[in-house]
């Protein structure tokens, strides 16, 4: 009892200090807590804050040997050059369109699976299905490329040899230019295949949070199962769906590098259909004919537009659900 009183007193004293003295007092009082944060503070400065300063390399003709300050200033030249390439339109279109399709399909397929699993008469089989759907989430994109390659390899692939050949259809050269129009479908399939299990679990856990009494009340009012899903499940699940939707919208300018780089087997012939900002920047940075100015400009474009989108998405989240927003 007496101890407790004395801690209260200590707290009172600490509030008397203001300004720099208060800062020092707080630092010495909680020095262990602040020291615990130090490794991550250093990490964030190196990994996140230092690259922000590095964005200024967009405005110089960057020479890695001379460093940022030694490189000549060129103003907006790099950005202008990038905006005048054909690639600028292609990669912007691909990045945004792929993401929009992914968001819509991811959420609707996962919502369907989650509700279907939830309605199964035998709960145990539902859990088994969930476990199987999740397998692909644990595979790396490299391994997924191997699996797709076993199906789509031109001369040894399962599709060409065991499906198309018996039907008398000419083999398709999947990784070359003529098969380009198939690729949006292949990538959407690959993305859904990998993430459906994961998204299903997220939405399923949202379903678990719905009070069973709503369904009982609906049943007593004579609502059929369809009506219960339409008027009870979906409205009560919508906060989870909206949160998921806005989170994904915030990332609409960032692509899944592994999907677009590995599943396409890094094929240059189909870039028009598969190239996105992340793969473009990678090739400009590390590819065989790299172009640092172009890489810096495209990276700058992605960082700035991406930032605006995240900010807006977060403002919208705050309107829907203040607890989920970050600012």
């Amino acid at each position: 009892m007496r101890n407790k009183a004395s801690t209260v007193q200590v707290l009172d004293i600490s509030q008397k200090y203001t300004g720099f003295k208060g800062f020092l007092h707080e630092m010495s009082k909680n020095k262990v807590l602040y020291l615990m944060m130090l490794p991550t503070i250093i990490f964030l400065i190196i990994n996140n804050y230092l690259p922000m300063l590095g964005l200024s390399m967009t405005f110089v003709r960057f020479n890695p040997a001379k460093g940022l300050l030694g490189s000549p200033w060129v103003g907006l030249e790099n950005l202008k050059f990038f905006f005048n390439t054909n690639d600028f339109f292609t990669i912007t279109r691909n990045t945004v369109c792929y993401n929009v399709v992914f968001i819509v399909l991811d959420i609707s397929v996962a919502a369907f699976c989650a509700i279907a699993i939830n309605e199964l008469r035998n709960k145990r089989t539902g859990r088994v299905y969930q476990a199987f759907l999740l397998i692909s989430f644990f595979l790396s994109w490299v391994v997924i490329n191997y699996i797709f390659f076993a199906f789509m390899s031109v001369d040894r692939g399962f599709i060409n040899n065991s499906i198309l050949a018996p039907l008398g259809i000419e083999p398709v050269r999947w990784y070359s230019k003529e098969a380009g129009p198939y690729w949006p479908f292949i990538l959407v399939f690959a993305q859904l295949w990998r993430y459906t299990g994961y998204n299903t679990i997220l939405l399923y856990s949202g379903l678990m949070g719905i009070d069973k009494q709503y369904y009982e009340a609906a049943l007593i009012d004579g609502a059929s199962k369809w009506k219960q899903i339409r008027y009870v499940t979906l409205p009560l699940l919508s906060p989870v769906i909206i949160a998921m939707f806005l989170m994904l919208i915030g990332r609409v300018f960032y692509a899944d590098f592994g999907l677009h780089y590995q599943v396409t087997n890094n094929s240059v012939a189909i870039l028009n259909w598969t190239d996105v900002l992340d793969t473009y920047v990678y090739r400009a940075l590390r590819g065989s004919n790299s172009n640092l100015s172009l890489a810096a400009a495209a990276g700058f474009y992605q960082a700035v537009v991406g930032m605006i989108i995240v900010y807006v998405a977060n403002r919208v989240i705050r309107r829907f659900d203040p607890e989920k927003s970050l600012f």
């Binding site: 964030l44 300063l53 590095g54 476990a131 699996i147 199906f151 679990i201």
Partner: protein, 300 residues
């Protein structure tokens, strides 16, 4: 009693139940089981069969030549596996500790500058330097090209997990427990290690699981930073085999043993070896993973 009865009445019809089950079974068999059997089947098929008939599930001619061939070159595989295991273990341990040690102080209501430090981390969600300056920080500023450390460091801290852990600490650990430990004379760090971390084990385990998966399946860091095969992890090695088969390059010994190297079957054998451990650990992982995800969703 009445409630249970209602629950039993309120079910989908038997027909739709059967239809839904059939749908799930067909989709899972076709897209989630069949592909694995094609990979495994092909890896046990004689290479000449694959050359003639392509990859298939049931080997017309069973052969272990692909595995014998791959194991002859096992030195590189074992090395790459060791790199993966080392980076995963060090990265997960170090990363989770760092994130927890950041999330705990900012979850403490009596820490004066907790808002400032939360903001310091959260700002990185909005402002980002992008990939190119990030790449040059690691290569030119830190000079970490082609080291093991660069396969660990960039993934140590994920601010999302700090948010999750902070929520976990703030809601899961009663302030009274911390207060009374303080009164008993325990230092802050001891309170953190022996009380807070213990109470937060489910949250820490979830974050650790995600981090393990990230390191284990990563090919991007070696793609960016590793210059020679010595510094490849298993995923990067698999990728290089897919790309150019430099791994399959003939030397005098392999020419003697395998005049016609089984390159097509060997690819699939490599895929099996690269995925094997993850799939064996999968049932264990899956259980905790689902638990962690469900918990995270409930907590927001």
């Amino acid at each position: 009693m009445r409630q249970r009865k209602l629950g039993e009445i309120n079910q989908i019809s038997r027909t739709s139940n059967v239809l839904l089950n059939i749908m799930f079974i067909v989709v899972i068999a076709l897209f989630f089981i069949y592909p694995f059997f094609i990979i495994i089947g092909s890896s046990f098929t004689a290479n000449k069969t694959i050359v003639l008939e392509g990859y298939n599930m049931i080997p017309k001619e069973i052969s272990t030549e692909a595995y014998r061939y791959v194991f002859m070159k096992s030195g590189k595989i074992i090395h790459a596996y060791l790199v993966t295991i080392m980076t995963t273990a060090v990265g997960t341990l170090l990363g989770v500790s760092m994130m927890a040690m950041y999330a705990y102080p900012i979850s403490r209501p009596d820490l004066k500058y907790r808002r400032a430090f939360s903001l310091f981390a959260y700002i990185t969600f909005i402002f980002s330097g992008g990939l190119v300056p990030w790449f040059f920080v690691y290569t030119k500023v830190l000079g970490l090209t082609n080291t093991y450390w660069v396969l660990i460091m960039p993934y140590l801290v994920n601010v999302w997990y700090i948010v999750i852990l902070r929520t976990f600490f703030a809601t899961g650990i009663p302030q009274e427990v911390i207060e009374s430990a303080k009164i008993d004379g325990a230092g802050e760090f001891r309170i953190f290690v022996s009380i807070v971390a213990h109470l937060a084990i489910p949250g820490l385990a979830t974050v650790a699981l995600f981090t393990t998966l990230l390191y284990w399946n990563d090919f991007q860091l070696p793609l960016y930073f590793s210059r020679e095969m010595e510094k490849y992890n298993i995923q990067r090695l698999l990728q290089s085999i897919m790309e150019n088969m430099e791994f399959m390059a003939q030397d005098t010994r392999s020419v003697r043993l395998f005049p016609n190297p089984p390159v097509y079957a060997a690819r699939m054998a490599m895929c099996v070896l690269g995925t094997g451990p993850m799939l064996i650990a999968y049932p264990f992982f899956q259980k905790y993973f689902v638990k962690g995800l469900t918990m995270g969703a409930v907590k927001g």
